[in-house]
Amino acid sequence: VKSGVELEDNVGIKLNDNTKKKKKKPGVFGRMTKNFKRDKYLLLIIFPVIVYFVVFHYLPMYGVIIAFKKFQPLKGILGSPWVGFMYFEQFFKSIYFWRLMRNTILLSLYSLLWGFPIPIIFALLLNELKERFFKKLVQTVSYLPHFISIVVISGMIINFTSPTDGIINNMLKIFGFEPINFMNEPGYFRSIYISSGIWQEFGWGSIIYLAAIAGIDPQLYEAAKMDGAGRWRKIMHITLPGIMPTIIILLILQVGRMMEVGFEKVLLLYNPATYETADVIATFVYKRGIMNAEYSFAAAIGLFNNLINLTLLFTVNYFSRKLSRTSLW
């Protein structure tokens, strides 16, 4: 009986009144209390998470108003004087504004373009491996670079690409090519930044896809086998569609982070010779704020970035919902 009642509540269909005691249709409040009573342990479990988001993500949001204020510590956030769009204007007026925008967007766009499919392909390939030990080995080896600190990675990149004694240029020299000063050529910066990023993260990124693949019903594969499908067909018609929702959700999330280019890595890898392609919004803010703690300016830039991110997120989500019926909401 009890489960029947629950079903009624969950589905929201009104069953025959006779199964219950005579009772008025429960109001919103009534339903809430009832649900609350029923789910109290689940709610208890999620409670810390809710508190976390309220305290650390929602409450601090009011602080974003310092983007429109000249923040003075003693007066606090609310007491500081308003300055309107001054900090936004300063940023837009910089002669480097468009270059910073271009570099930021291109760097993340290319990262997405090249970096996004590779973990998927890797997961698909890995899934086809029969030898368990070898599979585990490849997986472990491929995601180890994820744990190397970005400072070390950058040092390695600079060493490997050194025109005097780097391994890459040594190879070029062996084959009779002129050494290339990679880190000084603006044309190479994006390739180096993105390919090293892929190398570092593709193994780690494939884990979630492997998990999704593991969740696909094996019966589907058996049925396909009966129908005479080979490996390729199984991948194309079962595995890929099976993980498509995961792919799309991750894609939407990544697009929503478009303006967040890994600041430390750019800072460690760039130099004045490559500003042309490497100087991004985050490094610009860093260079500007190096003398003073410019909270208001940084908040203004952060707000600007987030607005763009939010717009992108909504756009991609909208199209995804229309086209593939998969979306975040």
Binding site: L74, I158, M183, N271, N292
Partner: protein, 550 residues
């Protein structure tokens, strides 16, 4: 009412504390008396005598970055600070964080503006926190309670001027490093062993330098048969927020000041010029471009770190670099460990030109600030304590020389390092040996040009006879960097946006010019600088300069 028990507890504790401190003071009585005797002769009536606090009732919190010798933290109550605590009777609670983290933590605490430590090291210059009301003006406190600081400022009026905010008040005490500019100048250091091997003389002009570097490149001075020599390898440093390359030191031959002054320098009439848009800077850039094209400059000069250069030096492939003088000795040591026979690194005289006597720029004279916060409950004690460690002869001796009998001994009234400091049993160099007992601190301290505060840099220098010889050779070949008063908040606000663009543009164009990525179109470069508002920046620097000069 509920608070009663803790009060009583505190009271009892403080009595117990008093007793223990009193007894320790009694124990060290003879010492203390002597110190106050010598101090008293100059001290006026309202000034303090030691101990500053006799009952041990005052604890100051001091926030700063932790010891530069990382194995020993200030929180471990290092010997020097134990001694200082015994002398002053002021207990110190250190709130330290490792070097770079400290800046972040203190910035957050300053933004919160609550519960600030009594005395703390500022993340940048004192004007902004002073305007924000986070640190208090020190002038009255100094006038009333700090005889040694007064004496010190009287002797070095320029330091006082440089410490004054635009409103004329002093909000923080800065570490004075003017004494080290003689003992440890920054300049061009050359591989003397290579010079000797090739039978070349120390280069003086830019032409000499070109020839020497060319010979380094072509004549295989390291004798391994491979053309792996990098004749000139320098690194970039960030100085006052702008990126400067060691290469810019060669501007000395053209009478330019492109390193510590970043190109802002007064002409004969006291008008600040931006030498980076001067035709002479073009001459320098053309010359550097020639060197770069011929492979005489490290192709990675924009990303080389000090460690990269040391590693190149220990492999004996670097001919010249720029650094502080004390590194000449370090380079030789690194080479010896790398198996190089008879390494010899010497700082050259600054490059000169026709009619131009070359000059290295001096750094400082102020580096790092400490202020007293608005939350300090005992500013009088705080300033007295600062006075003692910052400007008194005895306090200065503690922070510069360490502990008598351990790291130094008095010879004819002058402190001299002991063998423990110069040939440390743990293998530390003299600086780290001193830091390991708490001397050479990260608090504000003084190494001045003269007076009782000037002895340590020379004493350190004397521990390495070769460096001493070089320092004497270089004496008188340096000029102070442009003395700029602290900028006001308005001046900073009016120029940060311009400055960020100009610094980016300058760094980028210079790199492109030198590496040949862009043709040296000087007129366009200068006109872009003008359109970006360089004149506005010069105007502000002029104001800062005038405030010091008036």
């Amino acid at each position: 009412m509920k608070k009663k028990p803790p009060f009583i507890k505190k009271f009892i504790l403080s009595i117990v504390g008093c007793l223990t401190v009193c007894s320790s003071i009694l124990a060290g009585c003879s010492n203390t008396e002597k110190a106050s005797d010598t101090a008293q002769s100059t001290v006026q009536a309202q000034d303090y005598s030691l101990p500053i606090v006799s009952d041990g009732s005052v604890t100051l919190t001091v926030a700063t970055n932790d010891n530069n010798y990382t194995p020993k933290s200030y929180t471990q109550n290092l010997p020097v600070w134990q001694e200082i605590e015994k002398k002053t009777g002021v207990k110190i609670k250190w709130e330290v964080a490792p070097g770079n983290q400290y800046t972040n933590t203190i910035k957050v605490r300053m933004a919160a503006a609550k519960g600030l430590p009594d005395i703390f090291r500022l993340p940048a210059d004192p004007v902004k926190p002073a305007t924000d009301g986070l640190i208090i003006p020190l002038d009255d406190l100094i006038a009333k309670y700090a005889p040694n600081i007064r004496k010190y400022f009287d002797q070095f009026p320029i330091i006082k001027k440089l410490s004054q905010a635009p409103d004329g008040k002093i909000y923080a005490l800065g570490s004075d490093v003017s004494g080290t500019t003689y003992a440890d100048p920054q300049g061009i250091i050359i591989n003397q062993a290579w010079l000797d091997k090739l039978g070349l003389k120390e280069p003086k002009t830019l032409d000499d330098w070109y020839n020497v570097l060319k010979a380094f490149k072509e004549k295989d001075p390291n004798g391994n048969g491979k053309p792996d020599e990098i004749p000139l390898s320098t690194r970039d440093s960030v100085i006052n927020g702008s990126t400067v390359s060691g290469l810019y030191m060669f501007g000395s031959a053209l009478g330019l000041h492109l390193y510590y002054s970043d190109g802002f320098y007064p002409d004969k009439n006291g008008k600040v010029q931006y030498e980076w848009i001067d035709p002479r800077a073009k001459e320098l850039v053309v010359w550097l471009n020639k060197l770069y094209k011929e492979g005489l400059i490290d192709p990675q000069y924009t990303i080389k770190t000090a460690d990269d250069i040391i590693s190149g030096i220990s492999r004996n492939i670097i001919g010249a670099t720029t650094h502080f003088l004390n590194n000449a000795n370090r380079f030789a040591k690194a080479q010896k460990q790398g198996g190089v026979e008879n390494p010899n690194w010497q700082m050259t005289l600054p490059p000169s030109g026709s009619g131009v006597a070359g000059r290295y720029e001096e750094y400082g004279p102020i580096s790092g600030w400490m202020g007293i916060s608005k939350d300090a409950k005992n500013p009088e004690v705080a300033i007295k304590w600062l006075d003692y460690i910052f400007a008194s002869e005895e306090g200065n001796r503690y922070v510069t020389f360490g502990i008598e009998g351990q790291s130094y001994k008095m010879v004819d009234g002058q402190p001299q390092f002991t063998q423990w400091a110069t040939q440390n049993p743990d293998g530390l160099d003299v600086n780290d040996a001193l830091r390991s007992i708490g001397a050479m601190p990260v608090t504000s301290w003084v190494r001045s040009l003269e007076g009782p505060w000037s002895r340590q840099p020379v004493a350190v220098l004397k521990t390495v006879p070769d460096s001493l010889k070089q320092a004497e050779k270089l004496k008188g070949t340096s000029v102070p960097a442009i003395p700029l008063g602290l900028p006001s908040v308005e001046e900073v606000e009016a120029t940060t946006a311009i400055n960020a663009d100009i610094q980016t543009y300058k760094a980028e164009m210079m790199t492109k010019f030198i590496t040949g990525q862009a043709p040296i179109d000087w007129d366009k470069y200068v006109s872009t600088m003008k359109s970006m508002g360089i004149d506005k920046l010069i105007e502000v620097k002029q104001k800062q300069y005038d405030r010091v000069k008036k």
